[in-house]
């Protein structure tokens, strides 16, 4: 850039700190930094004098004390004798569990509803508009409570499954829907060799990862054939086979057994229990955020100008191909950034778990642990740190994806 005309010569005057563009921004930054430092100093002094006055001190050793409370929904071993740190870990895993589940289902709901809202079918598009408006305009806390209330009141108690005059029965004798939650069969492995190794699930995951690359290889192969001959071979059955066969063989070798839930005493035992609070929270977050995602998807598709569809159509491409090859690649640029915000919202809104007694990190560390130990500052600091880390990680991950699909221009 060309330089402005030579700066006028002259002595430095104090007023130039505010009126001269060369110094102005520096002056303002210095003032801001000073004000910020003063605020922090005030807060620090305030905390330290108040803690001193009450004879308290900051410290995190309480995390090693036994927690003394039970958590019914947990992904790792935990008893009331475990430490507060362990309780926090259970909470973190529960938060991540519901956040990941809700992100996946909200995306599915959102994409379906967003695409269908643009449908030419009047009934379908109006139904989707109705879904979006109803769910995004009522607070998610209310949805959580509504779904939880319906579940606990409408679903049968375990007692209803018992006796000769049972009023409820298990679906296919495998699934039990009760007001305490849903019981589903849990997988187990009977082959003694694999059971002794204790890495069954790692093996399954490894095979699935292998299948993923196998499926990708088939895609690359199909593209190569297409480039050479013009015809793209049909691959869906090969891809299906690559996904299903290896896992099926592995599971058979490991001796897959299903632990089927059964009524014992007053409750169901065996299998996997998906607690009512988890279901209510998961479902509410999914449909609520799904409504927002639907609008993002719709906006993204509509942001691609009609001329693009017309040009592709004029070249003879069919509507499905136009969507995949022309519209979606451009729409994703518009959809991804707000989608990141929605994923962050799900993660943070999952703290509403406390309303239905789901033991997420806010309920364990920020609820019971905080109340029992009185370590409010430490607990809240840790909570903030966790949510901040989780959110920044999601953000970073999605931004990398976003950068990879960015439009190249100039």
């Amino acid at each position: 850039m060309a330089i402005l005309s030579d700066p006028p010569e002259g002595p430095f005057r104090l007023s130039m700190l505010l009126s001269d563009t060369r110094y102005r921004s520096l002056t303002l930054q210095a003032i801001t930094a000073l004000v910020l430092a003063l605020c922090l100093a005030y807060l620090y002094r305030n905390i330290s004098t108040n803690l001193q006055a009450q004879g308290l001190s900051l410290g995190f050793s309480f995390l090693q004390d036994p927690s003394g409370y039970d958590i019914n929904q947990r992904l790792v071993e935990y008893t009331s004798q475990s430490t507060h740190a362990r309780a926090a870990l259970v909470g973190i895993l529960n938060t991540l569990l519901v956040a990941v589940l809700a992100c996946i289902t909200a995306t599915i709901f959102g994409v379906i509803a967003g695409v269908l809202r643009l449908s030419n079918n009047w009934l379908v598009s109006k139904l989707m508009a109705f879904y979006v408006e109803i769910f995004r305009n009522i607070p998610v806390l209310i949805w959580i409570i509504i779904i939880f209330t319906i579940m606990t009141n409408v679903m049968p108690t375990p007692r209803a499954f018992r006796g000769d005059a049972a009023t409820s029965s298990m679906l296919f004798d495998l699934f039990a829907f009760t007001n305490r939650g849903v019981y589903i069969p849990g997988p187990g492995f009977s082959n003694p060799f694999f059971a002794s190794v204790g890495m069954n699930w790692l093996l399954v995951i490894a095979v699935l990862v292998g299948s993923f690359f196998g499926a990708r290889a088939i895609g690359t192969w199909a593209t190569k054939i297409q480039e050479a001959t013009g015809d793209r071979p049909t691959t869906w059955y090969m891809i299906l086979g690559v996904w299903l066969l290896p896992v099926a063989i592995l599971l058979t070798v490991m001796g897959l057994t299903w632990d089927i839930p059964a009524l014992k005493g007053f409750n169901f035992t065996g299998g996997i229990k998906i607690g009512g609070p988890l279901i209510a929270l998961w479902f509410a977050l999914s449909i609520y955020t799904g409504a927002f995602i639907a609008e993002n998807v719709r906006a993204g598709i509509q942001a691609v100008s009609k001329g693009q569809t017309e040009a592709a159509g004029a070249l003879g491409l069919r509507p499905g191909r136009i969507m995949n090859l022309v519209v979606l690649p451009q729409a994703l640029r518009v959809i991804i950034p707000p989608l990141i915000s929605q994923y962050l919202n799900i993660t943070k809104n999952s703290s509403l778990a406390i309303a239905v007694g789901y033991a997420d990190i806010t309920a364990t560390l920020g609820g019971i642990t905080l109340n029992q130990t009185g370590r409010a500052i430490e607990c809240v600091l840790l909570l903030m740190l966790f949510y901040l880390t989780a959110s920044l990680l999601i953000s970073a991950f999605m931004n990398v994806y976003n950068a990879s699909i960015k439009l190249k221009e100039r």
């Binding site: 297409q226 001329g307 159509g313 004029a314 003879g316 069919r318 451009q330």
Partner: protein
């Protein structure tokens, strides 16, 4: 122009439009359009804005639906049958006022997309065809750039090359130079003239009267959804019959 006269027009019919009518809601956009285009013919359609000229050529490749009458392209009757629409669209190429290149694909990919997915041409062959036509519009060196990196005139020439890659027998142009700077108009018109000289059947909505004089063998004037007048360019410009045509010509040629 002597040159234009040498360009061959055969007796074979390329497009027949019979008594075609179209409404947007209650608005009658096209009224009783009758038009026959022979193979090799180059037709320029002009008229005031809103007269239905763009709608007319967009009906020919089914970008717009007509409600009454019939359109026949290369012997295929345009109906709501997807097969017929596919067939017609693969015979008819189209260029738009705003180019409508695909911004997420390179110039080369823009040109090979349809041949690969519609014609099922092997990629290598499709690329060779694309390079051939990019050379023809004189921008082979831009093949690996993105549309956003090109000037308007270059983009429109790519759009023409993209259409040609499908080897169409008829080309439709919808105000191809209206969004361009004066300097770029020439490069696009030169490309179109070259195309005309090769005997391509062309229907062109444009206000470039110089182009019409030089290339067209028929000029059609439309107003309020009707074909008001059609004639050879010489007669059309020098001796317009209807008062409406005279007024229009005096306005666009008068300054």
């Amino acid at each position: 122009m002597a040159e234009a006269a040498t360009m061959q027009v055969s007796d074979e019919v390329a497009v027949t439009i019979n008594n075609m009518n179209k409404w947007y809601g209650s608005f009658h956009v096209l009224r009783d359009i009758n038009l026959t285009v022979n193979r090799g013919e180059r037709i320029v359609i002009c008229g005031p804005s809103g007269s239905g000229k763009s709608t007319l050529i967009r009906c020919i490749n089914a970008l717009e639906e007509h409600q009454k009458g019939s359109i026949e392209v290369d012997g295929t009757l345009l109906s709501s049958d997807l097969k017929n629409i596919d067939k017609i669209r693969s015979e008819v190429g189209m260029c738009f006022q705003h180019f409508n290149l695909f911004p997420h694909l390179t110039i080369l990919e823009n040109c090979t997309l349809a041949p690969i997915w519609v014609r099922k041409t092997p990629k290598k062959e499709a690329e060779e065809i694309a390079m051939h036509f990019l050379e023809k519009v004189k921008i082979p060196d831009q093949a690996n750039k993105y549309p956003g990196q090109l000037s308007g005139g270059q983009q429109q020439r790519v759009a023409i090359a993209r259409s040609l890659c499908m080897k169409p027998r008829i080309m439709l142009f919808d105000e191809p130079t209206s969004a361009l700077d004066p300097e770029m108009i020439k490069e696009v018109l030169d490309t179109m003239i070259e195309l005309a000289e090769e005997g391509m059947t062309m229907l062109c909505v444009t206000h470039e009267m110089g182009f019409a004089r030089q290339v067209a063998n028929r000029v059609i004037f439309m107003d309020e959804g009707q074909i008001v007048e059609q004639n050879e360019p010489e007669a059309f410009f020098n001796n317009p019959q209807s008062p409406r045509t005279q007024l229009f010509l005096s306005q666009i040629l008068g300054h």
